[in-house]
């Protein structure tokens, strides 16, 4: 009974998210007493005004960003794995991340961080966002094109990896001709960061991720049909090309928004769907997609907590943490491929 198992895990994950979210608000580089955290959240008076500011302006948006970013990446990973029928597909593997990065690099390095049109200047983040989306969609379009030419999903995956390499080399070239500061800020951006979204950008970020997530939930049925193989899906009356395009557009939206705001975050998109499958022992998207979505939030919130472990002495970059959680899962999945039920 996968549905009830899914519901059980779903409930458990929601509780975990609640606990982790609270922990993300309560713990940070500086020590804020628990009482002050609670007072801040219920709108009471706080001993130090700076504590309230830190919790509301820094920790809260960061925790929300982590939650949504984790879910978005995990769901994109799952959709890509189903579309390409390949367990190793993911936004970073297929070069979609890198495409978004190239867009960002173009904006950051060539235009000095902002596009000026007359006296109006787009804020830096908006131009970065547009760059990321354009880059991600360009790579997706290329992959789509090749996937219509090539029958084998493995070949499409390899094409994705190749596109990723070409895009990275374009990025190195851009970096080579950029200013030292430009290279530095691009490099730092590449380490990933949930703290880049501030409260006034948050509605936009959460809104666009939510649109992507809702779309993905609506796509559960066709995703299940795709699992049966393209021919079966077509027999079920599903227009494969159309569905695949919608799926990839959704992935593009989710990846571009998260990459633009948080940088290219590695491994969450690849590893979380596997964690969810291992938990559920099924590939049925009815339960797999919601569990992946929640699991993504759990993992991202956990990574965010690990980043602040050094306390007052500093922070660990996000992309130094995610592979530690992601890579072992992938290795486990590959090594135990024969034994794991959902591969058979």
């Amino acid at each position: 009974m996968p549905a009830s198992k899914g519901a059980k895990y779903g409930f458990f994950l929601v509780i975990t998210i609640g606990v982790l979210f609270a922990a993300n608000l309560a713990f940070g580089s500086i020590k804020i007493p628990l009482g002050a955290v609670i007072d801040t959240l219920i709108g009471g008076t706080v001993e130090k005004e700076s504590w309230r500011f830190i919790i509301l302006e820094s920790r809260l948006p960061q925790a929300l960003t982590a939650l949504f970013c984790g879910s978005a990446l995990a769901v994109s990973g799952l959709m890509l794995q189903t579309v390409f029928n390949n367990p190793l597909a993911g936004p970073s593997i297929l070069g979609i991340n890198t495409g978004a990065s190239l867009g960002v690099a173009l904006v950051m390095l060539l235009l000095g961080g902002s596009i000026t049109v007359g006296t109006y200047s787009f804020s830096t983040f908006l131009s970065v966002l547009v760059g990321a989306f354009a880059g991600a969609m360009a790579v997706l379009a290329l992959i789509l094109f090749f996937s219509s030419l090539l029958k084998s999903n493995l070949m499409v995956l390899i094409i994705g990896i190749m596109i990723g390499y070409v895009t990275s080399s374009a990025i190195s070239l851009l970096n080579f001709f950029a200013t030292a500061e430009g290279v530095h800020s691009y490099m730092i951006w590449g380490m990933g960061n949930f703290g880049g979204v501030s409260n006034d950008q948050l509605p936009f970020f959460v809104g666009s991720v939510a649109v992507g997530l809702i779309l993905s939930v609506l796509l559960i049925k066709p995703l299940n049909a795709l699992l049966l193989g393209h021919r079966y899906a077509e027999n079920l009356g599903i227009n494969i090309h159309k569905i695949r395009n919608i799926l990839l557009l959704t992935v593009g939206l989710l990846t571009a928004v998260t990459t633009a705001f948080c940088g290219p975050i590695a491994f969450i998109g690849l590893a979380v769907p596997h964690m969810a499958r291992l938990m559920l022992g099924t590939s049925n998207h009815n339960s797999l997609l919601p569990v992946t979505l929640l699991m993504g939030g759990v993992i991202a919130l956990t990574c965010n907590l690990i980043c602040i472990l050094p306390g007052e002495n500093g922070v660990i970059p996000l992309n130094a943490v995610t592979p530690f959680i992601g890579a072992p899962v992938i290795i486990y999945v590959i090594v135990n491929q024969r034994k794991i039920q959902y591969f058979n």
Partner: protein, 370 residues
């Protein structure tokens, strides 16, 4: 009390390297530089550069000999450099700018990282072909280097970088410019006396340094007169980290000498420390001043800062409009400050204590526009 501490500090520096014995040659007294020592002998000058990461070890010993005289017979162990240099390759803009100021610009035959050099004169010379661009500093164009056959390379050593790669095999003396690891402003500037000796302009370098030292100390004296010590923070958040200059960093000494209270002065790092936003905010929210440097085509404004990262607006310095910016895109911050710490100090004093220097107008910094 503070004056006392400063004077004790200055005196202790002075006593450091005053021993002179016959076998040591004549010691050239360096009052501030901690990683450098120089001794004059009859037919050569011996210069020792300490390893900046392990001060008990000598990184390199140089023997500067007159290029127009035959090589002395009894030279000790060390890298022989024939001075004055005629065809040097310089890797960084700051040293090019110093050599130019010392009047030895024509001795520069090649540079690395030309595109990062904020010096018109070098770009003009590169166009004319009198200065060759050797490309990336970490992997210079070795063929052009061999073709040029310079008489010395001036470059900065990095920790654990595994040497300088192929240029080490050319047999060209490599001058390790470890001045950037000096922690005090005058300590770093004092290295100009070594560079002056390389280019045969020792007197000029010595007198330029004496001038810089005098001005710097006069300004520091003026700053000590201030009754208040405004608090200061610096830099901006990049990604998840805010790279804050450590308490033992060069910049921290500048703030102290300019009569400010640097809020991270108790930190023990001499480089930068990556801190989280909340750590900086917790300590720096009430800071009186906030100094930033950045490289952008358009100057930063308060509004742009808030758009970049809204929580910046929570700092007092932001609300009271006490943020000063230095746009290194067109201001020669990196090129000038190391060898003109007095000019930088003057700017800082003007910012922290405007009444003490009523005549001075800011050279590096500007208060951000709305």
């Amino acid at each position: 009390m503070f004056l006392l501490v400063v004077s004790v500090f200055l005196c202790s520096c002075r006593n450091g390297k005053a021993d002179t014995s016959a076998s040591q040659g004549d010691t050239l007294t360096l009052n501030y530089a901690k990683r450098l020592s120089m001794h004059d002998f009859a037919d050569y000058t011996k210069v020792e550069v300490q390893n900046p990461w392990d001060t008990t070890r000598v990184l390199q010993t140089y023997l500067l000999v007159d290029r127009n005289k035959p090589l002395p017979n009894d030279l000790p162990k060390g890298v022989v450099v024939k001075v004055p240099l005629k065809k040097s390759v310089i890797y960084s803009a700051v040293h090019c700018s110093l050599v130019d100021e010392l009047g030895a610009f024509n001795s520069i035959a090649g540079v690395c990282e030309l595109k990062y050099m904020n010096l018109q004169k070098v770009h003009d010379a590169a166009k004319k072909g009198t200065i060759i661009d050797l490309g990336d500093g970490l992997a210079p164009d070795i063929e052009r280097m061999i073709d040029l056959m310079p008489d010395a390379l001036l470059l900065s050593p990095f920790e654990n970088s595994g040497g300088h790669g192929r240029v080490e095999q050319l047999g060209v003396p490599i001058i390790e410019c470890a001045d950037y690891m000096e922690t005090t402003p005058l300590g770093r500037a004092e290295w100009m006396r070594f560079y002056g000796r390389l280019f045969g302009v020792a007197e000029k370098a010595d007198s330029l340094f004496a001038q810089v030292e005098k001005k710097y100390k006069e300004l520091a004296q003026i700053a000590q007169k201030a009754t208040d010590r405004p608090t200061v923070i610096s830099e901006l958040k990049t990604g998840s980290a805010w790279y804050v200059p450590g308490g033992n960093s060069w910049i921290s000494f500048f703030y102290r000498d300019a009569g400010a209270d640097y809020l991270f002065k108790n930190d023990r790092h001499s480089g930068s420390v990556p801190l989280s936003f909340e750590t900086v905010f917790d300590r720096g929210q009430k800071a009186d001043f906030w100094l930033i440097k950045y490289n952008q085509t358009i100057d930063k404004t308060y509004r742009a800062l808030e758009k970049e990262y809204a929580p910046y607006a929570g700092f007092n310095a932001f609300q009271k409009k006490k943020i000063y910016g230095c746009n290194t895109n067109y201001i020669a911050y990196y090129e000038e400050i190391p060898y003109h710490p007095d000019l930088f100090l003057k700017d800082l004093i003007k910012i922290f204590h405007p009444t003490l220097l009523p005549e001075h107008s800011l050279r590096f910094f500007t208060n951000l526009a709305d």
